[in-house]
Amino acid sequence: MRDALPEERLIGAITRLILDPGKRPARHVAIGAASPIPAAASYLAREITGEVRVSVLNQRRGNPFTNGTGELFDLTAEGRIDLFFLGGGEIDGAGNLNLVGVGEWPGRVARFPGSFGSAFMYMMVPRVILYRFEHSRRVLVPRVAYISAPGTSPAGVFRRGHGEALVTGKAVFSFSPEQARFRLVSVHPGESAESVRAATGFDYDMAQPLAETADPVPEWLHLLRGPVAAAMAPTYPTFVQRIWPAAEMARSA
């Protein structure tokens, strides 16, 4: 079998987080728009366990929403969504996300598209995994310019969960809501403690010893290149064609 691609490694790392046996089971995972890597990880978790429902927003088929685009938020408010993915134009060391902009409000220096559902989802979904491929001091900042969605909340504020990990193109961090602080858990092949430190604008703790992000096991690669690629193709055709061209060709044939 062909070695794991970098994307497959990221997918595998996220799948391991989804399936973390120490956490509440992810029976229903929702995926925001334009997130093929988290989507693939969720589909892989579904293939592995047979018990994960994956709802991809904006998907023409196969999502559970028949009550309009607001239904995801109603489901979430009720506690019926277990795990969600978020990113951000900026992410700081306390887990705060900025999806709005930089400079005078609402973004006179840099304007991102907007907060989408982040201010709500981050607090209402019991499990959130942060994913941002770009790992740079521009994205991972000491302090976000604006807080679209806070990493932690004071006691007394209704909140179901927190970010539990941050996955980037270079590394995997865990997050402690008590300390409002990340811990570097593993670096991807080709990266080191130093290269990650150099590319990260915020301070964080380090796991001892620091691991290398593991490749997906061969069985997972097999699932990715077969049923996961097939499930992804209608919604993420460009991604599937780039990563798994054979699967895409088999589908088109």
Binding site: F65, G70, P113, F120, G156
Partner: protein
């Protein structure tokens, strides 16, 4: 209910009106937005339900917009919304940031005729800090539980595209239930449709669940492929290539003018297919 020509329908919108429109993946009123540009609409206050896309960016670029209230303005796969981004940086429009479920909830409150509605989450977000019209109170049913209240939002107009209307003004929107929320919330609702059908859509048990009653609909215009470059249910997919072309051209003022000349000012959406 009146059946009008597209440009006549767009002329119903006066300068300064607050207009709710759907994003690109939700039966957006793209042909209607182009008609608004053609007639030189001014001072519009656009409402994204819950986010905004091509139609909003086009109207901003053409100088029709004073204010946007939305959770995001984005061309999705085609990237940032170029006219929006330029206008925000230049301070040319007022941006009222929100977060997706607050857009839905504020419209829902208006559609239910209640003055406000609570929502969980959001506390601690700078979005809240910049919304003086939102209020945090102590939950009257549970001490020590701060919760956000949102005021009802009743736009002057809701405008969207749909597959079909009948002559009683009933409109079939299928699974796009968010369009019903828009219509319930807005003071007046204008709709473009692919076609007018005979009979009564509400009398058909298979169609009725996806119908917005003519009670809410003021006027309809036929605009074939009226969501283009957005898609419409299983009628046509979105036109990803055109979104990329728009994003590329709109990156510069000149490119945007060229886009207007080619796709908006002289031709109708149907002719652009």
């Amino acid at each position: 209910m009146r059946i009008l020509e597209l440009d006549r329908l767009a002329a119903e919108i006066p300068a300064g009106a607050m207009v709710a429109i759907p994003p690109d993946n939700s039966a957006t009123c793209a042909a209607f937005a182009r008609a608004l540009v053609r007639q030189g609409a001014r001072g519009l206050r656009l409402v994204g339900v819950p986010v905004s896309g091509y139609a909003t960016d086009l109207l901003i670029g053409a100088g029709c917009v004073a204010e946007v209230q939305s959770s995001a303005v984005t061309l999705d796969e085609a990237g940032l919304a170029p006219c929006f981004t330029r206008a925000v940086k230049a301070g040319q429009i007022r941006m009222l940031d929100a977060t997706c479920p607050t857009m839905h909830a504020m419209l829902e409150a208006a559609g239910r005729g209640i003055p406000f509605i609570p929502i969980r989450g959001i506390l601690g977000s700078d979005v809240l800090k910049h919304r003086p019209d939102w209020r945090v109170i102590d939950n009257p049913f549970q001490e020590g539980d701060p919760i956000l209240l949102l005021p009802a939002l009743a736009p002057d107009f809701a405008v969207f595209h749909a597959a079909a209307a009948d002559r009683q003004g009933n409109v079939w929107v299928g699974r796009h239930h968010e369009l019903a929320s828009m219509a319930h919330a807005a003071k007046r609702t204008l709709v473009t449709v692919e076609r007018i059908v005979e009979g009564n859509l509400i009398d058909d048990e298979r169609m009725a669940p996806g119908v917005i009653s003519g009670v809410y609909i003021e006027a309809v215009a036929v605009a074939e492929r009226g969501a283009w470059p957005g898609g419409l249910l299983d009628e046509y997919p979105d036109d990803a290539v055109h979104f990329l072309e728009y994003a590329r051209l709109a990156r510069s003022e000149e490119g945007f003018r060229a886009y207007l000349a080619r796709y908006v000012l002289r031709v109708t959406a149907a002719a652009a297919e």
